[in-house]
């Protein structure tokens, strides 16, 4: 008997740019760090998230090298919200990263991961009085977002003898539209300077750092150059007016990962700046700012997606193939926007995990949810897929494992492949018991009174 391939016919559209994305993978993606995709799915089910410890470490080391070969004092803080699975955080901490958190539960995770309190940067607009007390007690770096927080903190520091180590978050015009002016104090209209003056007048607060986070997936290195320049100017002004030296300048995150933005004709990895480009823009701004070499502040970085996206994969399977009423092919996967929140921003690369022929089909890729927004790819050209075929979605390490939703289907297993090829379950799949554990049914509504 001869091997069978489903008959297909594709129309050519000469002269029209192929809206289905130019690049089709020519080879199946059968293994991750030497471990067969099929084996992972057999053991851990489909869908399943996979993280490569080797890629995390390589990416981190490359970023650290890019900055520390250009600037003498560099410190990364792992942005917990990007991916706060403990195993992932621990890889970054082992590599030397501190923790950057935006909520108390992330803060607690960082402490439980062994991060010393004074190596936690506490960002975010919503810190409660208790959160601030905890941060003060542990000597953490409190990044103040607005005046209400400043007033609240000034009341709290009056309660006890401890001095708060604080920074202010600053927003500014870096030539990027839309400007992120929602967080922090504005640079151009002098609100930031007003905040500095208020803090310098507080005997129990030490203005330790200046912080900004100018956006995310930033393609412009010039914006970083401007941001670093403005923060350095502010540091110089504080030095000249108060004789006070700022210990660190925190440039935040926002460096792009190799993903392709939705609707972009160019592949992400072909257009994004490299880590060296970002490092060059930022460090030259600091080194050229006029701050004396002996007084250069530490450079803190909170890069998230650029450090973890590449290390994450989502393995999944084809549930069904359909033809839509307008003739388009539709492929339904066992994962959707419930697990791949980032498919709202990115045209994720998807590669079959088994051999395929040279023929391709243009298609829509849907997830399994019963809702119209569940579209993983609006149009993609892929080899012929059949029910049960396995696929690998690339660069999904950032934000998906924190923004995933439990809706219609449960969150799946997450595994990490160590540097020797060992596969570790780092987050167990959720079950109906996970849900029920949190629920309390009033006695008169129970099916079984013994419940």
């Amino acid at each position: 008997m001869l091997p069978y391939e489903r008959p297909i016919i594709t129309r050519y559209n000469p002269g029209i740019t192929n809206k289905f994305g130019s690049r089709v993978d020519y080879f199946p993606f059968t293994q991750i760090d030497g471990v067969p995709v099929k084996r992972i799915i057999d053991e851990y089910g489909s869908p399943c998230f996979v993280l490569s410890e080797r890629t995390i470490r390589d990416t981190y080391r490359n970023a650290l090298r890019a900055f520390s070969t250009r600037y003498p004092k560099v410190q990364f803080a792992w942005s917990y919200k990007t991916n706060y699975l403990n195993a992932v955080c621990q890889v970054f901490h082992q590599e030397g990263a501190w923790a950057e958190v935006v909520s108390m539960f992330e803060y607690q995770k960082a402490l439980q991961n062994g991060v010393s309190g004074d190596q936690i940067l506490f960002n975010g607009p919503d810190k409660t009085a208790d959160d601030l007390r905890t941060a003060l007690h542990n000597n953490s770096l409190i990044h103040i977002d607005h005046f209400d927080e400043l007033y609240l903190l000034s009341e709290i520091v009056r309660e006890g003898g401890k001095k708060a180590r604080v920074a202010i978050r600053i927003n500014m015009d870096t030539g990027v539209y839309p400007q992120w002016d929602r967080f922090g104090f504005n640079y151009e209209n002098e609100t930031a300077w007003e905040a500095v003056q208020k803090i310098m007048g507080q005997p129990n607060m030490i203005l330790t750092g200046l912080h900004c986070h100018i956006g995310t997936y930033m393609l412009s290195t010039r914006a970083y150059h401007l941001a670093a320049t403005k923060l350095a100017q502010l540091a110089l002004k504080i030095k000249s007016q108060y004789g006070h030296r700022i210990a660190y300048i925190d440039i935040g995150g926002g460096f792009a990962s190799g993903n392709t933005l939705k609707g972009s004709y160019l592949q992400g990895s072909d257009v994004i700046p490299t880590m060296d480009d970002y490092a060059e823009a930022i460090t030259t701004a600091l080194l050229g700012s006029g701050i004396p070499t002996t007084e250069l502040p530490y450079l803190y970085l909170e890069a998230g997606r650029a450090l973890i996206d590449d290390a994450g994969y989502l393995l999944g399977s084809v549930v069904a193939i359909k033809r839509l009423s307008d003739g388009r092919r539709a492929t339904i996967m066992d994962f959707g926007v419930n697990l791949l929140f980032t498919s709202f921003w990115y045209d994720h690369r998807i590669t079959p995990a088994q051999e395929f022929s040279r023929h391709t089909e243009d298609m829509v890729v849907y997830g399994p949810l019963c809702m119209n927004i569940d579209v993983v790819r609006e149009n993609i050209s892929l080899p012929l897929l059949n029910r049960g075929d396995q696929v690998v979605v690339h660069r999904v390490g950032a934000y998906n494992m924190t923004q995933w939703m439990q809706f219609i289907s449960m969150r799946p297993n997450v595994v990490m492949i160590d540097r020797e090829g060992g596969v570790h379950l780092i987050r167990e799949r959720e079950t109906v018991d996970t849900l029920n554990q949190q629920e309390r049914t009033p006695a008169h509504l129970r099916a079984n009174p013994q419940q």
Binding site: M1, L2, P3, Y4, E5, R6, I8, I9, T10, Y12
Partner: protein, 81 residues
């Protein structure tokens, strides 16, 4: 079902419709099906022939053939009847 007159099919699976100016590509299985249509074979005969030579279940083949014929019709490559 008949393949429209004038439709040109090359050995590599390139299809050209001079009436509309559209061109298409089909895979080996598609070429084989079009060849049988040109020979005047019925859908049943095509199904039986493929089942006798290829590793495929009847249910799957029928679904795939239905889809393929639908697309041939959509692209005005075949005429029903």
């Amino acid at each position: 079902m008949k393949v429209n007159k004038n439709i040109a099919i090359s050995e590599s699976g390139f299809i050209f419709n001079p009436g509309t100016g559209d061109s298409f590509s089909t895979n080996a299985m598609g070429q084989e099906i079009i060849r049988m249509l040109n020979e005047g074979k019925t859908r049943e005969e095509i199904t039986d022939f493929i089942l006798s030579r290829y590793e495929v279940e009847k249910g799957i083949l029928e679904k795939d053939l239905g889809d393929y014929f639908f697309m041939l019709g959509t692209y005005h490559i075949v005429q029903n009847g």
